[in-house]
Symmetry: C2
Subunit: 155 residues, 2 copies
């Protein structure tokens, strides 16, 4: 019969180690830590990059739709976009069809910034999960996509 022997540095997690919510939280903290170790002090943070990137992929996207896709609440989105606007990266336009809405685009400066940032961003993302095999990493990505309700097919 196997005995579980713990040195005094071992910590029993009592089932927490199989709880998906807990594991996702830990994984995200590791990722965040690795981000600062690796890319350090860029002006654009991952959250801001994702906003800029999605705007660059969908010029004229409405603020509400962008927020829905990135799970950013409206009140927070307003502050985020204003900060990016003040940096001269994003421009807003009120469409005549619906004058409540705001359509977002990148400025020229914004496009340059995204172009630069995308290089370190995707290199950083590529470096995540380096301790997994290529197949495991792919499976993890596919399972996460399914977990959050994204189509697993090639979007």
């Amino acid at each position: 019969m196997d005995m579980i022997v713990r040195t005094k540095d071992e910590v029993a997690l009592g089932g927490l180690e199989d709880a998906p919510g807990f594991l996702l939280r830990m994984a995200q903290l590791k990722v965040y830590e690795q981000f600062f170790d690796q890319v350090g002090d860029h002006r654009i943070k991952p959250g801001e990059f994702s906003v800029l990137w999605v705007i660059s992929c969908n010029p004229g996207i409405r603020q509400s739709l962008l927020g829905q896709r990135l799970l950013i609440k409206r009140a927070h989105m307003t502050k985020l976009i204003r900060a990016l606007e003040e940096q001269g990266l994003v421009s807003r336009r009120i469409p005549d069809e619906d004058r409540r809405a705001v359509e977002l685009s990148l400025t020229t400066k914004g496009r340059v910034a995204v172009e630069t940032a995308s290089q370190w961003f995707f290199a950083y993302e590529q470096s995540l999960g380096a301790n997994l095999s290529a197949g495991e990493r792919e499976r993890l990505i596919a399972l996460l996509k399914k977990f959050i309700g994204m189509k697993a097919s090639g979007l």
Copy 2:
């Protein structure tokens, strides 16, 4: 809560949908959202529960070790533990062997609270990933454990 009728406005993510850091962030947001939908307004939040649970599994654990395992910074740990102490759930003890350290244990009230909370906590964790098959869910858990550098024993 999200009763939005979607027109066919698709949003291109331009590769973001395969970025593990992005997916982990999205997954964690979904989990958090589901937590409030499902278990609502308990006094103990997931982060606090995990601290109490690990103390209950490791009576006398040192504050520094607990923080290392749960990736909670020292300054934040101090505030967290003090709040739990003020609720009468946790007690601290300065060991003679090292009078810089703090050893943590649950009070009787703390043990009762954890016993109660563990029921809804693990039910909630079990409900996560319900859109995956049992095998997929298990694989996701195993891959997350490997991703964060946990032993994937017996898989």
